[in-house]
Every structure is written in structure tokens, then in C-alpha cells.
């Protein structure tokens, strides 16, 4: 269990360094590591320092983008695993609950009404959108009052679909109103890691790592919850409370990821699904693996679109184009095997 995580972590570090060397200006691996080293330990001038241009390319252009991709991938994959466990459905993800649509709606509002302040208020609006959506979805699915045993997974999914279709219409309306800003909204909705800053990195890394710690603390309870309400309650899990903590944390993580990078689909769905077939369904083992594998997958996809393809494709489009058909394949294969 520890070994597999160390192997994945090692792989992730290699890809980070490799990716930082790739692009319009190729940088050898040794120079990448030297740039990082010299920035972290700016000791006295020991003879030859690395070329300032190379250092800027690595430290200020590429690494922020790379690390943002790493943490967004990790965050989306872990949130996906949480939603799947709570909704008792291996095919659920942040979209099923309408969380991503809520965050996107909030962010579109910010772009439309405060075009000059995007950088600062976009995450706030995205999170508010996600949080309000989550509250509405939970309210819709828990009946008339909050003190029922409530929150059955079917009604959660249904409420999520209802709310997100309303929100999609809302986003279309905002686009219609947007006039000159419409291009910004559309591009942002497609998802991209282009020109991220260290501020984005710190926002998303603190959120994702903090969220992961909370989620991992409840990983064993999530195992029991994923077998159904009756079993969880009679085994002594404070089901409602734990579900709310987990839903809130996962939604917060999703909202921050969406606000930093736009809508990037299929990572939250595919990564936990794929990892489950090799790490098993036990969340104590699955969650760390999802964290690392989500990071690796997202960074690899972003590196492909940034440095390998002749034209940069928005990452959200790329993950959907690759992830969609692949998902169909897995879905079909599992059906043939008779398990879902």
C-alpha cells in the first residue's frame, strides 16, 4: 500500500520535471532541476548560475501551470471518488450533483458583471455558486424538513440533474447577454491551465491538500456508507453528519478547481473508476491512489496539449475527447462482465 503510493509519487515527480523541460524552448532535465534548486536555495553566487531566461521559463511560466494541473487533477479525482461512494454509484462525479455547473454559473456571473476583477473574485463566485447549488440539491432531495433520515442517493442524483439543467440554461442566457465578454466565458468554460500564476498554485494546493486530509480522515466511514444507509446507521456511522462533511469538502475542492481551471470533465469520473479496478474499492487505499493518479493523468494531458500538439486544445475538450470514448469502453466491458 505504501509502496504503490511511493511509486506513483516518484512517477509524478519525474513527469513534473520532464514536463517542465518540454515546450517551445526545450530545457534539459539538469537545467530544470538546477533552476528549481537555485530558486529554493538562493545561496551566494557559486560561479556559473543558470541563464535567467531559462529560469524564468521554468519557474514563472511552466511550473505554476504544471503544479496547478497536478493539484486540480488530484482534487477532481478525489472528489469524484467521494461522490461515487456517497451516491452509491461508481458512475457519479462532481457533474452528477450539479456542483460543477453551479461553480461555472457563479464564475460566469463574475466574468459578466465584474470583467476587470476576474482574478480576485472568480474563485469566490465559483465557490458561492457551488455551495448554493449543493444546498439547493440537498434541500430538494431531503424532503420537506431537514430532520428526516433524508439524502437518499437516487433523489440526490435526480435533484442534481434538475438543478444543473436549469443552471446550463442560465449560463446560456449569460452568454447571450455577455456581448464582448462571451469569448472569455466560452474559453473559460472549456477549461484551461494556460497562464496560471503562483497565486493560483497556492490557492488550489492548500484547498486540495486540506480537503484530502479531511476526506481521508473519514475514509473508513465512507466505505461503510458506500454499502447503503441502513447498514451504515446500524453499524454506528453518524451517516448524515459524515455525508454532509464529505459532500461539503468535496464540493469546496471541486469549486476551487473549477474556478482556477474552468470545467474539466471526466477526470473525477474516470480516475476513481480505473483505480478501483486495480486498488480495489477500499477508500483507505483508493483515495491516495486517486490523488496521485489524478495528478499524473491531468498533468500528462496538459503537457500533451501544451507541448506536443501543434495547436493548443483546451484541456477540458481534450479530456472529454479522450476520456469519453475510453469511458464508453470501460462501461461496456463492465456490463458484459455482468457487474456495474
Amino acid at each position: 500500500m505504501v509502496t504503490e503510493n511511493l511509486v506513483l509519487l516518484g512517477l509524478l515527480c519525474l513527469i513534473v520535471i520532464g514536463s517542465a523541460g518540454m515546450g517551445y524552448i526545450p530545457v534539459p532535465f539538469s537545467d530544470v532541476t538546477r533552476s528549481i534548486f537555485e530558486t529554493v536555495f538562493p545561496g551566494p553566487d557559486a560561479g556559473q548560475k543558470i541563464d535567467a531566461v531559462i529560469r524564468t521559463v521554468v519557474m514563472d511560466v511552466r511550473l505554476p501551470r504544471i503544479l496547478t494541473a497536478v493539484f486540480v487533477g488530484a482534487g477532481l479525482a478525489v472528489s469524484g471518488a467521494v461522490y461515487q461512494g456517497i451516491l452509491l454509484n461508481p458512475l457519479a462525479d462532481p457533474f452528477t450533483l450539479g456542483i460543477s455547473a453551479g461553480a461555472a454559473f457563479g464564475a460566469s456571473l463574475a466574468i459578466l458583471f465584474f470583467p476587470s476583477l476576474n482574478l480576485y473574485i472568480l474563485p469566490g463566485f465559483a465557490f458561492s455558486g457551488a455551495a448554493v447549488t449543493l444546498l439547493i440539491v440537498i434541500f430538494l432531495s431531503s424532503g420537506h424538513t431537514f430532520d428526516r433520515q433524508g439524502l437518499s442517493s437516487n433523489s440526490l442524483i435526480l435533484s442534481g440533474i434538475i438543478v444543473s439543467s436549469i443552471l446550463s440554461a442560465g449560463i446560456s442566457f449569460l452568454k447571450y447577454l455577455a456581448d464582448e465578454q462571451v469569448a472569455i466565458i466560452i474559453f473559460w468554460l472549456m477549461g484551461s491551465f494556460a497562464s496560471r500564476t503562483w497565486m493560483d498554485v497556492s490557492l488550489v494546493s492548500i484547498t486540495v491538500v486540506g480537503g484530502f486530509i479531511v476526506i481521508y480522515y473519514f475514509s473508513r466511514d465512507l466505505n461503510i456508507i458506500s454499502l447503503g444507509d441502513r447498514m451504515a446507521v446500524t453499524l454506528g456511522v453518524e451517516t448524515r453528519r459524515v455525508m454532509l462533511y464529505l459532500l461539503f469538502t468535496a464540493s469546496f475542492v471541486t469549486a476551487i478547481c473549477v474556478s482556477v481551471s474552468g470545467i474539466i470533465g471526466f477526470v473525477g469520473l474516470l480516475v476513481p473508476h480505473m483505480m478501483r479496478s486495480f486498488a480495489g474499492p477500499d477508500n483507505q487505499r483508493l483515495l491516495p491512489v486517486c490523488f496521485l493518479a489524478g495528478a499524473i493523468l491531468m498533468l500528462s494531458a496538459d503537457t500533451v496539449t501544451r507541448a506536443i500538439l501543434p495547436v493548443e486544445i483546451p484541456i477540458g475538450v481534450l479530456t472529454a475527447l479522450i476520456g469519453g470514448p475510453f469511458f464508453c469502453f470501460i462501461f461496456r466491458r463492465n456490463h458484459m462482465r455482468g457487474r456495474q
Binding site: 466505505n223 454499502l227 446507521v233 453518524e238
Partner: protein, 266 residues
């Protein structure tokens, strides 16, 4: 053996506006085997859910071992009451042994591994339910009956004083049903286990239950010793079906045959 475990007082429960239980009051004693019987939709499962602490009455209260069930912490309750529910779907590919081990959840502290005792309890439970050979299989890939026995084993591994069964043997073949109920009955006699079980099969209930509880339309019709309640009249009142009950010396219990189209003229 006369200690009261569940004491239900004027419990009313409704889903939205459909009242499922209309003011039920009854007590259950430790160390006995109870069978709950009644037509579909009469509130049997809801009554069991109330006693498991899964739901709480809207008015009235359920007391367990002298305390309000709602106020008893779930962790403590989980070491005393286990429930085998009726419909059970598992969407995630856990191993059979993993699911049984989840029965030990209340005993294993967070971030700890199961102890030797936990493994021993699980092995015992799998032995009793006859699923030991399925141990390593995925619960998503076994048959419905095997899954039901897995869930039964999980409840036994939970090692509680009270075992609530909601048609827990409905998907099992007759050999496994009899064997499981025999084992459970033996635990009632020897270890003072309390079993409260919903039955569809009246004859099976008559063989194993010390006492029967008949329900109809959200009310409790009657509760009492099996030999007193297993009557043609009672089945007529509760199920609206005509029957003949003969005493079966093998079981020391009455067994019913029912009037069907074929036997229209008895």
C-alpha cells in the same frame, strides 16, 4: 431472561403524509425469538427500522434497555443491535470477506487494523453461513442467495445481543434457510440472543418463533406465544385467507395449509 430490551410507546411513523405506523405500543424481552407477520405494506419493515434506530418515531418513543433509543449514541447501539435488511445491493466490488469484516467496524478504532479476534469472529460467521469458500470472491459477482448469506454473516460478525432480520432468508434455498434459522435458534437458547424477525412464510415462522406478532395496516393486531396465535381465525383476520392448521408433532408446532382454487370445496 425476562429483561425487556425494546419498549415501544405509542410510536407513530409516517413517510410524508402516508402514516405507516399508527401508535404502536409493545415490549420485547431478551432471549426470545419473535416473528413479525402481516400482509405486504403493513409496516413490518418500518417497525424493524424503528427498533434498529435507523428511523425515529414522529410521536411516541422507542426505548431500548431502559433508555431512549434516539439518544443512545450510534456507536454504542451498533455493539448491541444488528440488522439484516431485505433488499441489498452492493455496487462496489468488495470481497465477501471485506463485507463481513465491516461488521467489526464498531469495534475497530479509526486507522487501526483488525485484530486476531476480529478475524476469528468473521471466520466463525462465514462458517455458520456457509460462505467460507466464497471468501475471496467479489460480492458483485455472486448470486443473490450468496449475497444474502454474506450480509447475514456480516450481522453475525457484529456480535450483538439483538439480531433483527427482515426476511433475511427469503432468497435462500430451503436447506440454507433451515440451517441458518436453526443456528440462530440455538444461539437464542444457549447464549440468550434475541431475534426479532419479519417472516413471509407463516409455517417457517411457526417452527422457530417463541412468540408471534401479527400486524395489519400499520397497527399491531396481536402478540403472543406461537401456539396461541397460530390459528385459522387469526390468519383469516390478518391475511383474509382460509386455512387449515394441523399440529405437526415433529416441530411441536401448528402448520397451515391454505385454500386455493384447487381446494375450493373443503
Amino acid at each position: 431472561m425476562t429483561e425487556i430490551c425494546h419498549d415501544i410507546r405509542q410510536a407513530v411513523f409516517a413517510y410524508d403524509r402516508d402514516i405507516v405506523l399508527t401508535g404502536i405500543s409493545e415490549t420485547f424481552k431478551k432471549g426470545r425469538f419473535y416473528g413479525i407477520l402481516g400482509p405486504n405494506g403493513c409496516g413490518k419493515t418500518t417497525l424493524l427500522d424503528l427498533m434498529a434506530g435507523f428511523i425515529h418515531p414522529h410521536t411516541g418513543e422507542v426505548r431500548f434497555m431502559g433508555k431512549c433509543l434516539k439518544k443512545t449514541p450510534k456507536k454504542i447501539l451498533a455493539k448491541q443491535i444488528s440488522l439484516v435488511s431485505q433488499n441489498f445491493y452492493i455496487n462496489f466490488p468488495y470481497r465477501v470477506s471485506d463485507v463481513v469484516m465491516m461488521g467489526r467496524y464498531p469495534y475497530i478504532p479509526r486507522f487501526s487494523s483488525p485484530s486476531a479476534q476480529d478475524f476469528q469472529k468473521c471466520d466463525q460467521a462465514m462458517e455458520i453461513t456457509g460462505i467460507r469458500r466464497l471468501k475471496g470472491q467479489l460480492v458483485t459477482e455472486i448470486s443473490g442467495g450468496e449475497r444474502q448469506r454474506t450480509v447475514f454473516a456480516r450481522a453475525l460478525a457484529q456480535d450483538t445481543d439483538i439480531l433483527l432480520l427482515d426476511e433475511a432468508t427469503s432468497n435462500l434455498d430451503i436447506r440454507h434457510s433451515i440451517h441458518l434459522l436453526d443456528t440462530v435458534k440455538k444461539m437464542v437458547r444457549e447464549k440468550g440472543l434475541t431475534v426479532i424477525s419479519v417472516f413471509q412464510d407463516i409455517n417457517l415462522a411457526a417452527i422457530f418463533c417463541d412468540e408471534m406478532v401479527f400486524m395489519k395496516k400499520g397497527t399491531l393486531v396481536k402478540k403472543g406465544p406461537t401456539q396461541d396465535l397460530m390459528t385459522e381465525q387469526m390468519l383469516e383476520t390478518v391475511f383474509h385467507i382460509q386455512s387449515k392448521i394441523r399440529f405437526e408433532p415433529l416441530y411441536q408446532a401448528g402448520q397451515a395449509v391454505f385454500k386455493t382454487g384447487k381446494a375450493a370445496s373443503w
